[in-house]
Symmetry: C2
Subunit: 298 residues, 2 copies
């Protein structure tokens, strides 16, 4: 699979390193090297207590120490969920920044699951917060939520494309409560989720005429394969909810049968339950990565 | 207007102050005392530069110094937009915490515009971050986004109801890009935005059998009055986009003609342009608050 970099839009800090390769290229390299598993880093109060570090800012810092020691070389991508760091206020954000920076230095891709999304200049502010070399919490990719319209997300999408980052638009969620809205119908008869996949495909064609573009979709595998073509989106899929939330590797394989090499299945609780022993975390990740590779035929 | 507190669910810190009065009651008191204007605190890079404080964490801290001096006694409610604080990483969050705490101590209500929303335990984490006496960034009210389904937001809604806080669900946005999704139709023929208003009404009846409930809606006034009944929601409305984003006091009055005493119109850029002089900020707020009072007949 080849991807043409969007050269005229590449954004590097003045006089600094050139922009990295496009996210989709880096993600597929990581996937080839380590398997498709994305390790979700959701340090809930229950996890911090179970790990014996305490549900405090200091405990969260110790959680970060443990995962940055355990995970490099084991998985290709980690996915911190912002909410669990925001719980601890500014100290939690300082821990998140350290987690993200340390993981990226160690060669892990960092997908920040923050589900941001607003209008106009607010989206510019979110883009400045999370995307590009000058961002306070620079991520390789960011999740966003489309209720205000995908067209309003241009500041986030453009900045991601320009700096080699990725965006995952929440499209189909794993939970049952999201189905009515996501399956509501537009005047042309398409569902909201189908229209999003089509609109993402159009954006990816604009950003990258051939190969995978910078815009992906969060797409839950628990509701079966969709009636529309996922491969035509020309982007990556983040499949949440593997393990504790009920989706199995077989569900992932069935949902993404048309593009098994473009799906990034994420698990968190079922892996964190194997901690805090680093060998336990590594073993759980390697076992699930192996299951996913086999189910997806990779 | 009377409101029955949801007594069995009230949540106070153990041995500490009892939970405050319900948000809707406090908001309507603030509105009666100071008029309906919500002062949006969106310190974009452009605002920080225009104010001469610099687009840096120190500059943001200075912005906070200025607004916490200028605004108490002038408006009843402020609405910091989280994105503009997140831009500055953990130091920006520390500034936001100071802004929120200082404003609340001075008697201002703080509506944090963060548009959070996820599933399951992640929403519990957001609730713990922003709602209740033990929250790291305790707000009087929080905006949330419903793409994953209003039913999935129960941890946020329940915690808000229990601790006297409010939730504003993004329902109709001011921007044109949000219209297709928000007007998509459910199987029963209702639009997404209409179904949300109905579902919020049902939640408010459950939380507060008579009077206004803790769940409000973000409802943009730029698209004219809706075909459905806003008064029946029994909740408050946050009307964004007054001034720089194009909505006028007359638009607000037309959209909320059935419940003019339940709307909280928010302006930011047009007010911040009158800074950094505290007298300028106060004058701009008082002038717009007067216009809104007259337009709404309050």
């Amino acid at each position: 699979m080849t991807t043409t970099p969007t050269a005229p839009q590449r954004l590097g800090a003045a006089g600094a390193e050139p922009a990295p390769a496009p996210f989709a290229v880096r993600a597929q390299s990581a996937l080839a090297a380590h398997g498709p598993l994305v390790f979700g880093l959701d340090p809930s109060g229950a996890v911090l207590e179970a790990w014996g570090v305490g549900d405090t800012p200091d405990g969260l810092d110790r959680f970060v120490d443990i995962v940055v020691e355990a995970l490099p070389g084991v998985v290709g991508m980690v996915k911190p969920q912002s909410a669990f760091y925001e719980r601890h206020g500014w100290r939690g954000i300082a821990s998140l920044a350290r987690l993200m920076g340390t993981c990226r230095e160690a060669g892990l891709l960092v997908l920040l699951d923050a589900k941001r999304g607003d209008v106009g200049s607010t989206n510019e502010a979110y883009a400045e917060a999370y995307l590009g070399p000058d961002a306070a919490l620079a991520a390789d990719a960011l999740t966003i939520t489309p209720y205000l319209g995908l067209g309003a997300m241009a500041p986030l999408l453009d900045r991601a494309a320009a700096c080699g980052a990725g965006i995952f638009v929440v499209t189909r969620s794993s939970n049952p409560e999201g189905r009515p809205l996501q399956q509501a119908r537009l005047p042309d008869g398409d569902t909201v989720e189908q229209a999003l996949v089509d609109d993402i495909a159009a954006l990816n064609r604009r950003f990258v005429p051939s190969g995978l573009g910078p815009v992906g979709a969060v797409f839950g595998p628990t509701h079966g394969p969709p009636a529309f073509d996922l491969a035509a989106m020309n982007g990556l899929f983040l499949a949440p909810g593997i393990g504790a939330q009920g989706a199995t590797p077989a569900d992932v394989a069935a949902c993404f049968a048309s593009c098994p090499d473009r799906v990034l299945p994420a698990a968190s609780r079922s892996l964190l339950d194997a901690g805090p022993d680093p060998a336990g975390l590594r073993g759980a990740a390697q076992a699930l990565a192996g299951e996913l590779r086999r189910a997806l035929g990779l």
